[in-house]
């Protein structure tokens, strides 16, 4: 009697779990299993973890060029890069990622079969702060694992959420809707510019930015390690500093963080030449109320990203000549001096702040 009970219970549990896993595997709501990617389930669930999806997709696509960095780097458009370089491109930009996460991905991709020829990395000052934490969704074991990480198999096949997401994917695909499948990330890993994230900027937003920074030597070291790997494997490495909005630059000034910001650039330049798109210029000082150059206070737009790609990859005629300077140990001091001087233009642009923040 006990034998029958135990075997019935175990059998029923296994059967139901296998059924659930089969449905989730075939529908594949997160787009990480390659069996039925472009058919009845083409549009995947919108709210999916990019740290999970991009890890597997970047392996699966085996791109020749990858873009790394934070959500800002997600504004670099893979089709444009492919058009200029002829290399297949995947945007592996991950929201709030730091240089450790970027190094882990580079190391992992290079360890397995890959076609990598070019790596483009967006560098964001905030992510180099000593207090900046590695994102909770980053799983070291997932990135290092040669196959699917078991925890991911379980969470994408054996959970109520995966079953429910499978239903939502089927619903949207069958009904030809995007209620559940509208995503801020495109299949190529870049930001979906159709999604409007613009939100009101408040003084509190600025207070969050305005902290005392201390550059982490470890973070710098990971960039050095990436460069070493690229040198070993004969991979072209492009490093760039994002064109953050002048309002954010101004908080660095106001909080006396400009020397730290400059030192950060000096440290980076000692590793490799850097494209610096930051500074006080027509793009960074443009009004946030027009969405040409910025999606929001923190993120430049894909249009700005295109100008950066043109500048870095040699199609310079398409980018304004003042946008982006390649800095090296030879010209860094001169460049920093120019940036300091360019701040004088900010005074009469300060209206941007008042326009954005009523209680400024």
């Amino acid at each position: 009697m006990y034998k029958k009970w135990a075997l019935t219970v175990i059998g029923a549990i296994v059967f139901l779990l296998v059924c659930s896993a089969t449905v989730s595997y075939i529908v594949d709501p997160y787009g990480i299993y390659p069996v039925t990617r472009k058919s009845f389930n083409e549009h995947k669930i919108g709210n999916r973890d990019p740290y999970l999806v991009k890890t597997y997709n970047s392996r699966d696509y085996q791109p020749e060029t990858i873009v790394l960095g934070t959500s800002r780097a997600m504004r670099l458009d893979p089709p444009l890069i492919e058009q200029i370089t002829g290399e297949s491109t995947y945007n592996l930009g991950l929201s709030a990622s730091n240089s450790y996460i970027q190094f882990s991905h580079v190391e992992s991709l290079l360890k397995r079969k890959n076609n990598l020829k070019t790596i483009i990395i967006g560098l964001d000052f905030e992510t180099f702060d000593i207090e900046y934490k590695t994102h909770v969704n980053f799983a070291e074991k997932r990135v290092a694992s040669p196959f699917y990480y078991f925890q991911d198999i379980a969470s994408t096949l054996l959970t109520k959420k995966s079953l429910l997401d499978s239903y939502y994917v089927l619903y949207d695909n069958v009904k030809n809707r995007d209620k559940y499948t509208k995503s801020s990330t495109l299949d190529d890993g870049s930001f979906n510019a159709e999604i409007k994230l613009r939100s009101e900027v408040s003084v509190n937003d600025l207070k969050r930015i305005a902290i005392q920074y201390e550059v982490s030597l470890n973070s710098i070291e990971y960039i050095k390690k990436i460069q070493d790997l690229c040198n070993e494997q004969d991979i072209q490495l492009y490093l760039y500093i994002s064109p953050i909005h002048a309002i954010i630059l101004e908080t660095f000034w106001q909080m006396d963080q400009w020397p730290v910001y400059e030192d950060w650039k000096r440290q980076l330049v000692s590793i490799a030449p850097i494209w610096d798109f930051s500074g006080y210029h027509d793009i960074s000082m443009s009004s946030l109320n027009h969405d040409t150059y910025y999606d929001d206070l923190s993120h430049f737009s894909k249009e700005t990203g295109n100008l950066m790609v043109y500048r870095m990859l040699g199609s310079e005629d398409y980018a304004p000549p003042w946008f982006g300077v390649q800095i090296t140990p030879d010209n860094i001091e001169e460049h920093l001096q120019k940036l300091r001087e360019s701040r004088s233009q900010w005074d009469y642009r300060d209206t941007d702040m008042q326009e954005l923040i009523q209680d400024y």
Binding site: W5, I13, L17, Q151, T159, K160
Partner: protein, 491 residues
């Protein structure tokens, strides 16, 4: 590795279980199956941090050697050396920084803190082994093989967070030939108890934990109603988390035909504090009773306190021993003043109850339960909040010192309460509606239902129980996309 992780449930457990019984079937002597369980248990332990493995191996080996020596030589110095070794390890890894920081505060010194990470389960395996060598000294232990002893300490169901098992309960079971064969009755009961424990942890405890986490973020400004919601959520979280873990341990033991003692017996049904503590973390209380309370009580009765000049009544000696027992229980739980205060408050609470009992005034059961449960909620604040000042602030909020806020939507019904100073508006603890539903559910479950061991005692392999277990197991296991550690892993 966590019991509530897919790695454990889908990979580790089936592999260890099947291989164990295959090895048993292969050789009747358990020549390979016991070492297999030891190796698997050490793997289970090392999964968190392999760096802790040498420490537990050293501890096992040292205690085994001391124990062996004590069995053949009743040597007090050897026993003391063994106890000092165990307490020394525990003291170094768990209490050194606490002592240093207090020395720094007291003497305005600047001794550098060691920042030593607490090795997992050290409090549990240290206590188990102290009891072993004491019993070796007292002639209560027969010669054991190293494998048997290692299995007693490392057996994975109870290794990380108890129940604290006694060698008298465990070691004879490892030797019984009948325990080496598959026993479907035990397997059925094991699945039954494990599933209930998994449900308690994944569905109940983890839900309460979200409210607790929100409350901990606003300790300074929390108000009356929110404070009670957070306090009740923590009271339930702690119970469902730890009793869930203990259920899982008992269930897992049964899969291997090993009966692990129960650790909880509906503590929140108790109508006095002494009863609460005799039903809560039973194996720790029993250990402290046997190895602290009784020896201390005996010592106090026979020596200093019973001289002609200073003669204490038995009742006072008992009270003193009780306070000491729970003080040590508090210190065992963690290196912090909050745990010391928590332990003292339990001891004092029990003494007050014992004095009250002498008055022969009987409170109605509901009132006695209400007072007991409220007191448990208040003192558990010290268990949760490591800063004593913050804990006091929180307790003040529980007594209404920070005012009270009710949701705006209740204004039309409860407007008169505004006269009492209650504000209607938003508060800092989100998701209170859901939290309240879970608190009500928590009360229904702890007061209206039998506990796991009572359910297990009447377990019948029927279709209804099969459907019940399949449903709760699947519901819990398919909710494991957010794994969380057990609270007692910190102790």
């Amino acid at each position: 590795m966590l019991f509530n992780s897919p790695h454990f449930i889908f990979l580790y457990l089936p592999f260890v279980f099947i291989t164990y019984f295959l090895l048993n079937a292969w050789t009747a002597t358990q020549r390979y199956s016991k070492p297999w369980l030891v190796v698997c248990s050490l793997f289970f332990y090392g999964w968190w941090n392999p760096a802790y493995l040498p420490l537990i191996l050293l501890s096992i080996l040292a205690n085994y050697i001391v124990g062996r020596y004590l069995i053949s030589h009743k040597s007090r110095p050897a026993l003391l050396a063994g106890i000092v070794f165990n307490l020394g390890l525990l003291g170094y890894f768990k209490y050194l920084d606490f002592i240093l920081s207090n020395v720094n505060s007291l003497f305005s010194a600047n001794l550098p803190l060691m920042n030593i990470a607490l090795p997992l389960a050290i409090s549990f395996y240290t206590f188990q082994q102290i009891s072993y060598i004491i019993d070796c000294y007292n002639g209560k232990v027969k010669e054991q093989s190293l494998i048997n002893y290692s299995l007693f300490v490392t057996f994975f169901p109870q290794l990380v967070a108890g129940p604290i098992v006694h060698h008298r309960q465990m070691m004879p079971q490892f030797l019984q030939p009948a325990h080496h064969q598959i026993n479907y009755e035990n397997i059925s009961l094991g699945i039954y108890i494990f599933s209930i424990g998994l449900f308690k942890k994944v569905i109940l405890a983890d839900q309460f934990s979200t409210t607790v986490a929100s409350g901990m973020g606003v300790l300074d400004s929390i108000t009356f109603f929110d404070a009670w919601i957070v306090a009740l959520s923590y009271t339930f979280q702690l119970y469902f988390d730890f009793s869930g873990y203990s259920d899982m341990a008992v269930g897992l033991g049964l899969l291997f035909n090993i009966r692990i003692p129960i650790n909880f017996n509906s503590p929140y049904k108790a109508t006095n504090l002494q009863e609460v503590m005799s039903r809560w973390h039973i194996t720790l209380t029993r250990f402290l009773y046997d190895y602290v309370y009784i020896p201390v009580n005996r010592k106090l009765s026979r020596s200093a306190f019973m001289t002609k000049t200073l003669r204490l009544k038995t009742e006072w000696i008992t009270s003193l021993s009780l306070v000491l027992l729970f003080l040590i229980s508090g210190i065992w739980h963690g290196a912090g003043w909050n745990f010391i205060i928590w332990g003292l408050l339990i001891g004092i609470g029990i003494i007050v109850y014992r004095l009250w009992r002498k008055t022969n005034i009987r409170l109605p059961k509901a009132i006695a339960w209400g007072i007991t449960f409220a007191y448990v909620n208040v003192i558990l604040v010290f268990f949760k909040v490591s800063s004593v000042n913050e804990a006091l602030t929180f307790i003040k909020a529980m007594f209404g010192v920070n005012g009270a806020i009710l949701p705006e939507r209740l204004f039309s019904f409860l407007q008169p309460l505004e006269q009492l100073g209650i504000v209607f508006g938003p508060s800092d603890v989100p998701g209170k509606d859901k939290a309240l539903i879970y608190i009500v559910l928590g009360f229904i479950l702890i007061l209206g239902f039998k506990n796991t061991s009572e359910k297990a005692a009447t377990f019948k392999p029927t279709l209804i129980t099969a459907i019940f277990i399949v449903l709760i197991f699947l519901y819990a296991v398919m909710d494991m996309n957010k794994m969380s550690e057990f609270l007692y892993f910190n102790f």
